[in-house]
């Protein structure tokens, strides 16, 4: 099951570009956002050139077409994560809004002062700040599953937290810094035994692994299209039907209602209850095209390709004196290599690499507490997706040697 990477690369127009004269792009920043293949770009293009209209309530041909395209995309996304029904897939702007939707509509209706929410030390800010806001507003309590030196979740400590009967366990399926793939099914099973609801931040897992919400038994699961070959401006929240049905609406406005009087309204049924106003229609179409694209390549093939590249990258990076890669060994890890280089700031590393067309990210990658835990303000991060090659890893390594020489 090896990918035809050259074939795949030819689907991504941006990979053909030069960042400056004669310098071909080496894109190693897919964890921040992925590039988009032609079928995704063209699907949105065709939508605007042919079918654009507002949806749901329109009777005319364009409105019917746009509605059908918008809802077919939802079906595709539902199948992609094996949701029992498309009405359990709510369109949002991104993972961040998906999590906030749970924090506003589910948590504010279900949590009271003193209730415990368990997070982890490796969370992205998107799965920290909404709960901190709720803590400030409601007096809920937060506690954190610690991260071990090896970059794994401390599951013994988790058991101890569960003994305090949390109401919610919200955790990342895959760390965007360490690359750690957390044992989500196990974490959820234990949470359920303790009576907690679970929220999976799947921003990094749905793009890179086969995610099956029913096999995981996840209560809520959040992800973004832009990290999985889809457009910006759209994400999704999956939820169990009974939870979503019991929740009050979040944003109020057009489309999320059944009936409106001057002083009251009746909310619409799922999924529309949570989709207020004109949604990201073209983006939904692009999102659907993205899951089609990923499915046609095959998620298992993608995962094993990334695994191969990552293992190679770790091996090559670790042979460079002064390089320290964070996170667990390749076997527990997705396609992320965050590293430091002795005495040289990640910003300088990234910027000098950029001169050779190599795009890596430098900073805290929206996981400041995790960096603090490891006693560093920032890392450089190279990340890999279906279109990356071992040659690109070699270019990265050459680039790092160049950086070292400049600062030598």
């Amino acid at each position: 099951m090896t990918l035809n990477v050259q074939q795949i690369r030819s689907d991504f127009p941006i990979l053909q570009r030069e960042t400056s004269k004669g310098i071909r792009l080496v894109y190693l920043d897919s964890t921040a956002t992925s590039q988009k293949p032609l079928p995704v770009i063209e699907a949105m293009n065709a939508y605007y050139r042919r079918s654009n209209a507002n949806i749901h309530r329109g009777v005319h041909t364009l409105a019917e077409e746009a509605t059908a395209l918008y809802e077919e995309a939802r079906e595709k996304i539902a199948r992609f994560i094996n949701a029992p029904s498309a009405r359990q897939v709510i369109y949002t702007r991104n993972t961040t809004e998906s999590i906030n939707l749970v924090a506003y509509a589910w948590a504010r209706a279900n949590l009271k002062a003193g209730d415990l929410v368990v997070l982890t030390e490796m969370e992205h800010h998107s799965n920290l700040v909404p709960w901190q806001m709720l803590q400030a507003e409601r007096g809920i309590e937060l506690d954190f599953i610690p991260v071990t030196e090896a970059g794994l979740l401390d599951l013994d400590a988790y058991q101890a937290l569960l003994a305090r009967t949390p109401k919610l366990v919200a955790f990342t399926h895959m760390s965007n810094v360490l690359g750690t793939i957390n044992p989500a099914a196990e974490i959820i099973r234990l949470a359920h035994e303790a009576g907690a609801v679970t929220l999976v931040d799947a921003a990094q897992s749905v793009p890179h692994l086969k995610v099956d919400v029913q096999a995981l038994d996840a209560d809520f699961l959040a992800f973004s299209a832009h990290k999985m070959c889809g457009p910006t401006g759209i994400g999704a929240l999956y939820g169990k039907a009974d939870l979503l049905e019991a929740m009050p609406p979040f944003l109020g406005g057009g489309d999320m209602i059944k009936e409106v009087k001057l002083r009251s309204f009746r909310p619409n049924s799922l999924p529309h209850k949570f989709e207020a106003g004109t949604p990201a229609i073209a983006e939904a179409v692009g999102f659907g095209a993205a899951v089609d694209y990923l499915s046609s390549v095959g998620m298992d093939a993608i995962a094993s390709h990334e695994h191969e590249i990552t293992a190679y990258a770790l091996e090559r990076l670790e042979e460079i004196p002064g390089v320290k890669v964070f996170g667990p060994e390749a076997q527990y890890k997705g396609g992320v290599a965050a590293f430091t280089l002795d005495g040289i700031h990640p910003h300088d590393v990234a910027q000098i690499l950029d001169k050779d067309g190599i795009a890596v990210r430098a900073g805290h990658h929206c996981a400041q507490p995790l960096h603090e835990k490891f006693g560093i303000p920032a890392t450089s991060r190279a990340s890999f997706y279906l279109y990356n090659t071992k040659d690109e890893v070699d270019l990265l390594v050459d680039g790092i040697y160049k950086v070292k020489k400049m600062f030598g």
């Binding site: 749901h56 309530r57 329109g58 009777v59 019917e64 059908a68 009936e259 049924s269």
Partner: protein, 131 residues
């Protein structure tokens, strides 16, 4: 004009055969389509043998919703209730003999939703009844 507003639809809309309200009745149910305000009430008398003895619809709305209701009532009189319970979307589409987009489909299926909610004795007419 293509087949969408086939003469039969306009005909059943303008001259319905089964518009009315049965008194007494064994089954009665009403609901509306919040999207457009269409309203349908169905009343029905059930025979001792469990078949539909007589039925009527009342209400207001677009030609599709009202003609569908008339055609639907026409199609069930004399049928066993058990058979009526099995009717689905396709039945309505066959009666109308036309293709419909998602929005108009809601209009067309309103009467069937109301009918099935009544026959099943449900509190609410949900979309799942007519999938």
């Amino acid at each position: 004009m293509d087949d969408l507003y086939r003469e039969v639809i306009i005909e059943h809309y303008k001259h319905p055969g089964y518009r009315g309200h049965l008194e007494p009745h064994d089954i009665q149910f009403a609901d509306n389509n919040p999207l457009c305000g269409d309203h349908i009430e169905i009343t029905m008398q059930v025979g001792a043998d469990g078949t539909v003895k007589d039925a009527r619809f009342d209400g207001h709305g677009c030609a599709i919703s009202q003609a569908s209701a008339d055609l639907l009532i026409e199609s069930i009189i004399g049928k066993p209730l058990e058979e009526v319970k099995q009717l689905n979307k396709q039945h309505i589409l066959d009666l109308l003999g036309i293709d419909l987009g998602p929005v108009r489909l809601k209009c067309a299926l309103l009467s069937l939703k109301v009918l099935k909610a009544g026959v099943y004795g449900l509190g609410e007419a949900s979309d799942e009844l007519v999938e």
